[in-house]
Symmetry: C2
Subunit: 376 residues, 2 copies
Amino acid sequence: MDYDRPLFFHVMEYAAAADRDVIGMVSGSPDWEPPVALRDGLADYVNADSEAFQYPPSEGLGELREEIAARRNVDVERVIVTNGAGEANYLAMAGALDRHEERTSASEEPTFVLTDPVYPYYPAKSDLLDANREFVAAEPDGTLDPAAVHEQATAAGDDLAAIVVNTPNNPTGAVYDRATMAELAAIAGERDAVLIADEVYDRYDYTGRFESALTLDVDDVVVTNAFSKSMAITGLRVGYAVLPEAMVGGARTRHMLVNVATSRPAQQAVLEALRETGPEYYQRNRERMSDRVATFTDALDAAGAEYTEPDGGFYVMARFEEFPGTLENVKRLVDEVGVAGMPGEAFGDAREEWIRFALVTPRVEEAADRLASFFA
Amino acid sequence: MDYDRPLFFHVMEYAAAADRDVIGMVSGSPDWEPPVALRDGLADYVNADSEAFQYPPSEGLGELREEIAARRNVDVERVIVTNGAGEANYLAMAGALDRHEERTSASEEPTFVLTDPVYPYYPAKSDLLDANREFVAAEPDGTLDPAAVHEQATAAGDDLAAIVVNTPNNPTGAVYDRATMAELAAIAGERDAVLIADEVYDRYDYTGRFESALTLDVDDVVVTNAFSKSMAITGLRVGYAVLPEAMVGGARTRHMLVNVATSRPAQQAVLEALRETGPEYYQRNRERMSDRVATFTDALDAAGAEYTEPDGGFYVMARFEEFPGTLENVKRLVDEVGVAGMPGEAFGDAREEWIRFALVTPRVEEAADRLASFFA
């Protein structure tokens, strides 16, 4: 396996090396403060007994798993604390393949059905796990048509191991409504496959329509999540998977054999932050993002760009007339406008003409003005 | 894949539930303090800018990788910071399989040659990676006879992907000398395979004979390590792999797709501890362990037990006359003596009559007295 450096890094480096001021809208790292209680939690850890510096339980600190289970209204045994949503998705996808192999020993090409545009880590994880992947193009407004997913799942037949979705969605900003999620779960169920729902942007729902797949009354749904975005701590690497009972054992084993456990000071800090942080913190961050979306899309209107108004998440995808979102054009925007976005091709074929902008910078308004002046 | 709860947890739970005072000698968690600078590093992190809470580079903080590279005298590009030695070994073994597949597409059964007794995570990782494993029995004194490894490597033929060793060794306490390591590397080289050396106990060498495999003048050696034992921080999960150039790309990709990155506060704290901690800290801990070994083996003499004097690491394996190290007898020791060890069967066939005692408790002397009285 070769080292495939994500396009992401390439653009960030190009922007950093530019001979001018560039507003970075490439990465999805929040630019705001973690909860106060998170820093307090770390500060408490500094003075903990030396025992607190030793192995936590492999599946996660008991109290943290209980806090998560209570909030998600699931049995605590179904919760594994992971090294961010990255590991949670890895465990979920690997577990879906193991489950698929156990149930349909005949399948030669276990398959994930993914969306297009797609969060690039999903197809990359499919490759790592030697699985096949098929894509379902999103609708023009970024939503997902269950009928299109059904068609792809039918084509995959007995090879279908899982449908993997991300809601609120990166990069489209779509929030799949409850009916869609229920249909996706039913489609997976028809083929005895799993629905994997990555809900890491659940705190950034601007419509109030988001509902976790855990509220569906079905088995065989895996929900992955993390505190990376909700608490502005992408670097702490604390996430979790909530798995169907039958998948918990395999995921625990894999988690233990790959990582032993998740870093303990980070878990402890998240535990304290979960307990002590009120809804105002999350609301403030959601409103800030929602304001930025309004500012940015106003400028896109002024620039005559096509875009989909995000219902959730950190990103806006836009298409400028006669300015396709190629890597070359993204570099032109860096050099001539001072705004760095991500080329649409990083996310698949369906939006290769588009550019994704991450609104996690305090300079969204300035970036919007620059783009509006350039394209107006 | 079923969840195979390590025997380890079973014994710990049994000991915890016992109706008496039990001295725990099961787990390898240090019972002493991390370096002062480690706590200071965490304390500094508490007050860092919010940016410091976001993604570090996937391969590890640049400054930490440089500190490691300087100490190991290797090119910094060869260093990946991992979620403990656990992930480092996973990356090394997975990478050895990828490398093997690229070079010998004909091989049906890629094979790891391991030792017996063995650190149980290695065969478990082999299973996770769908690889075959063959064992080489250690010599009666715990050392490894390169001729025996050569025989097993020859039997594996083109299937050999890697030889995996741990020095100083868990559980035997053997420290493989330089000549042995050079021979192991040559045996791997003959078959175009890799030598993986897990050196996590390198700071606990009581003989002065230990030398890192990185000092061998050969390619295709992977060294894995962590700060878990050297800094008494098994719960922080900071380790690293030093890989041959040709394996770095694949390992980075796997690391990124499985974990994205290693938890940042833990990395930052280790960085400061590496810089600020003098040799006295490591010496003090080594001497403490060495004293415990003397205390404990004196008691084993008094108990008439057979044992191998450890040259390094945290463990002593012992065999008591007419008291084989079965799980049942280990439980008897818990109940009747108040000492919890690990049954030899957890480490393979070669030492299934033995019991492993971890000397990471301040109550080693008391445990020794209890055992001596019971068996005398």
